[in-house]
């Protein structure tokens, strides 16, 4: 087919800010089949899962404070958060023993509504204090083992009893796909919906043809073909479904942070019903070796961002929360004893937060091992009494309707059901 190109129409000011393309594409030429929504009979039977990874090793002991532990106050003379006394400079009491860091105040309503669950003294049992190894093991879902190259979420998606062809079945927010989604499933990495299209302001028919030609070039046998096709499929879906001026619902106010804005993208995808099943998102900066701050400073700021963003997201979703489960994790916790720089070194046991309408929330799960010297792990860390895979496996099974947990977490058979989810 010959094309007369008009120079004026084709030229693109690609660096200008984004406007959604409205030219319909011949999508059929690009992909063999594509469902915007999962077709009837193949609709995902479970919740949409949001997996949040806190990069750097969150200090769980200052996030969910064991107020009843004298060692907590002894070992953290400058960093400890005071026991709840009703004031802003103290913990927010949860159950008479544990208290929330005041910067996590936005979680309290959700806790009171029974839709926030906490698992303390949890994590990956591997003793490594290396960020990179710990994250790697956690995302592969095989602590101590690197022989499997897939991530636990990819294996979950691979083993569900249904199919979902949507290019947005699995989305990683960020420039690079999180390792938990790596594997023999299609996953889309994106930073924001607004910029996820080809060609800047250009809306010409010629750009559409250019896009189609790219589809052909990414069909000539290169191993980038699959990624190319997925990219084109994802941009087409977005064009046809997403509005450019999204307004959050129910008065939700997202923080201006990257994490908050990333959750905003996920909320849009959920409400657009494009077949999203799993979304992964990172929040970084948790490696607080120095001057982490007790009530003010780096760590409280991070906690504020975490809670305010997730609370806004939760509010924005409205009734979708009944079909959403959010889980947080971090590669390890931090040492009980504060160090000489007003911070904490790499530790072991940590906190996981879960939110969703299908949870038995309002409770801190797990056996609390205590902070006495003989109860600590290694060089003085909080011990782990709940393997993080117990938490994830229960979610996979009860909320994500996938019975194949043994394939999602191979080599792990000692599963302990906490009862934190219904289903």
């Amino acid at each position: 087919m010959s094309t007369q190109l008009s120079r004026k129409e084709f030229l693109s000011a690609a660096a200008k800010s984004a406007v959604c393309l409205c030219t319909p594409l011949d999508v059929g030429r690009l992909l063999p089949s594509m469902a915007f929504f999962a077709p009837p009979g193949q609709e995902p039977r479970g919740d949409i899962l949001i997996a949040v990874f806190q990069r750097g090793g969150m200090d769980g002991l200052n996030a969910v404070i064991p107020q009843g532990e004298i060692e907590y106050y002894r070992q953290r003379p400058t960093l400890a958060v005071a026991e709840s006394n009703g004031g802003k400079a103290s913990a927010i009491d949860l159950d008479g023993f544990f208290g929330l860091h005041p910067s996590l105040g936005a979680f309290k309503n959700i806790w009171d509504a029974g839709e926030l669950a906490i698992v303390h003294a949890s994590g990956s049992p591997d003793p490594t204090h290396s960020h990179f190894d710990a994250m790697d093991y956690m995302e592969r879902g095989t602590p101590g083992e690197k022989s499997l190259s897939s991530g636990w979420l990819a294996r979950h998606l691979q083993t569900t009893d249904w199919d979902n062809d949507s290019p947005f079945r699995a989305v990683g927010i960020g420039a690079m796909l999180q390792s938990s989604l790596r594997g023999p499933v299609s996953a889309t990495a994106m930073q924001s919906i607004a910029q996820f299209h080809l060609g800047g302001d250009n809306q010409s028919a010629e750009l559409a043809q250019f896009q189609a030609t790219l589809g052909e070039l990414y069909g000539t046998g290169s191993l980038l073909d699959a990624t190319g096709q997925l990219t084109l499929g994802a941009t087409s879906t977005l064009e046809q479904v997403i509005q450019s001026n999204y307004q959050p619902s129910h008065g939700a106010g997202y923080p201006d942070s990257a994490f908050g804005q990333g959750l905003l993208q996920i909320a849009q995808l959920i409400k657009a019903e494009v077949g999203l099943e799993v979304a992964t998102i990172d929040i970084g900066g948790w490696d607080t070796h120095a001057q982490q701050g007790a009530l003010e400073g780096d760590m409280p700021n991070l906690l504020q961002d975490l809670a305010d963003s997730l609370a806004a997201f939760y509010t924005d979703l409205g009734s979708y929360t009944q079909r959403v489960t959010i889980v947080t994790m971090s590669e390890f916790g931090r040492r009980l004893q504060e160090n000489g720089a007003g911070g904490t070194d790499h530790g072991h046991g940590n906190v996981m937060f879960l939110m969703g309408g299908g949870l038995n929330g309002g409770k801190v799960y797990g056996d609390w091992p205590g902070l006495a010297a003989d109860a600590l792990y290694g060089p003085g860390d909080l011990a782990i009494t709940t393997d993080y895979r117990d938490v994830l496996a229960e979610i996979v099974q009860k909320r994500l309707a996938n019975e194949h947990v043994a394939e999602v977490f191979p080599g792990y058979s000692d599963m302990n059901v906490l009862g934190l989810a219904r289903g």
């Binding site: 204090h129 994250m135 690079m176 030609t213």
Partner: protein, 513 residues
């Protein structure tokens, strides 16, 4: 870490800031098999007798210029490699004028600490690094600078690091990248930027901070499987107490220089990797440890693996890693010799054309291979990110969108170097948008003289041949040629050339080196 506002996140102009937080820690399987990979089994360009030369040049430079191709033909590719491994012998004086406008490059940290334009050093070091990549004749040298910058990664935006990282680039990285590893390690251990970034500047005998000691072992020398223990980390942290910065915390000297503070040093005996470090060794303890690490066989393996990953393949054959490690050990850590072993090897030749370009290589190769002209530097002014109102600086936004804004990787492991990390939908889309930008920008940031690249071509078929020869170093497979020619049809060269250029730059064929 600072939070970002919504404007910064959503606008392309602020995308560098957004990338900072979004490009948070990437897990990397150090020293072990990388995750599922997209390997480069693409349809090769037609072999026309020059395949080895062209592909080698694409691997050891950001893209070869016609002059470099001619020179390599004249002296032979092996001699060309050796020439590039001795960069001091190559005249690069034209770079002086190109880099002259960027005054923070030569500034001392003390001048930058209280600067009224705190975002300028990052903007200028980024610009300088990119300009060197585009215009320097010492192409391999610049690639190795990039390698070691990543290896000794420092996040530019951690607090006051912004006043010190440029000096680290100037004094630690650039003078040592093809020399002895031990010299590079020692310079890095004394680098104020590194001491701040990994918290060693605040490590004292009373409360030692393990961060630097751990990364020195795990990321800089032995590698995570290199055979050290948590006890070694703690002992090393003790040894490096007192390694700090002058005029920080009341120390003497010129502000912002390395300063060994005996008062804060833990002078007791230490046991590290089986070796006893006697008490009261002062600064000599850390220096002795650096020497020990540089000579350690695990270091030879680990460094060789990383160099082979960069210059050969995501999962380099064990044979070349071993050969390089042998050279490394025999030469007591000579990086140029080790790299020479890699670049002259059969494994290197066998791997040509199969390594996925990272965004930096896409960015630079597009500009070099098209002979693009950059617009003027944007006017300086206020604005949190050093002004993105047009001019050449706007082009660097694409590097951020592709996922590799320079000096903004937050964690000490540096940007990953395997295809699965880069072959994402987001990254692919950004590469396509960059290709469109280069082809069609018309001088706002960059301009390409497509007619000059087409040379004597009188029709689209001849023009496509000329372009692929210039941009890819060969001809496209027939199927791909037909697809591109079908797109432009009978359009005149004036409109077909940029379109063909954009398609080539977007194609899978341009994504490999």
């Amino acid at each position: 870490m600072k939070t970002l506002n919504r404007r910064e996140f959503l606008q392309l102009g602020g995308i560098t800031a957004a990338m900072t937080a979004l490009a948070a820690c990437r897990p990397l399987a150090e020293g072990a098999a990388a995750p599922t990979q997209v390997s480069g089994e693409i349809a090769p360009l037609e072999y026309d007798g020059e395949w080895l030369l062209q592909r080698t040049l694409q691997r050891i430079s950001f893209a070869p210029t016609p002059d470099e191709v001619a020179h390599a033909r004249e002296i032979g590719i092996d001699n060309f490699i050796d020439e590039q491994l001795a960069p001091d012998s190559l005249d690069d004086s034209h770079m002086e004028a190109i880099l002259a406008p960027y005054s923070t490059l030569q500034a001392e940290p003390a001048e930058l600490i209280d600067s009224e334009q705190p975002y300028m050093p990052l903007a200028e070091l980024t610009a300088a690094t990119l300009l060197r990549g585009i215009y320097s004749r010492r192409q391999l040298y610049e690639m190795v600078v990039d390698f070691w910058s990543n290896h000794f990664n420092i996040y530019f935006r951690k607090g006051i690091v912004r006043a010190f990282k440029t000096a680290d680039d100037r004094h630690v990285i650039r003078p040592h990248v093809l020399g002895k590893l031990q010299d590079l390690l020692l310079a890095s251990a004394k680098s104020p930027a590194m001491l701040i970034y990994l918290d060693n500047a605040q490590s004292t005998a009373d409360r030692p901070n393990e961060n630097y000691a751990r990364e020195l072992l795990e990321l800089h020398t032995l590698g995570v499987n290199g055979g050290y223990t948590q006890f070694d980390v703690q002992e090393m942290a003790r040894a490096f107490t007192g390694w700090g910065i002058s005029r920080l915390r009341g120390r003497r000297g010129q502000p912002g220089e390395f300063y060994f503070d005996d008062q804060n040093h833990d002078s007791g005996e230490k046991l590290i990797l089986g070796a006893t470090i006697p008490a009261n060794g002062g600064i000599g303890e850390g220096e002795q440890i650096i020497a020990m690490l540089a000579e350690h066989p695990s270091t030879a393996e680990f460094i060789s693996y990383k160099l082979a990953q960069r210059f050969v393949a995501d999962e380099p054959p064990t044979s070349i890693v071993s050969a390089a490690a042998a050279t490394f050990s025999a030469s007591r850590g000579d990086i140029a010799l080790t790299l020479g072993t890699i670049l002259h090897s059969e494994e290197f030749k066998a791997s040509l054309g199969t390594k996925l370009k990272r965004p930096l290589e896409v960015f630079l190769s597009a500009l070099r291979s098209t002979g693009a002209t950059l617009a003027e530097i944007s006017t300086r002014g206020s604005g949190r990110n050093g002004n993105r109102r047009g001019g050449r600086a706007a082009l660097a936004d694409h590097l951020s969108l592709m996922g590799q804004p320079l000096f903004l990787w937050e964690t000490p492991d540096g940007y990953p170097d395997y295809a699965a990390a880069w072959a994402s939908t987001n990254g692919t889309l950004a590469r396509w948008n960059y290709a469109l930008a280069v082809a069609y920008d018309q001088g706002r940031s960059v301009s390409v003289d497509w007619a000059a690249l087409a040379g004597d071509a009188t029709d689209n078929t001849q023009a496509l041949d000329a372009l692929t020869q210039r941009l890819l170093g060969g001809r496209l497979p027939d199927e791909a040629q037909a697809i591109i020619l079908n797109f432009v049809g009978a359009a005149p060269l004036e409109t077909s050339l940029p379109a063909m250029g954009a398609l080539i730059l977007s194609s899978p064929f341009f994504q490999y080196r």
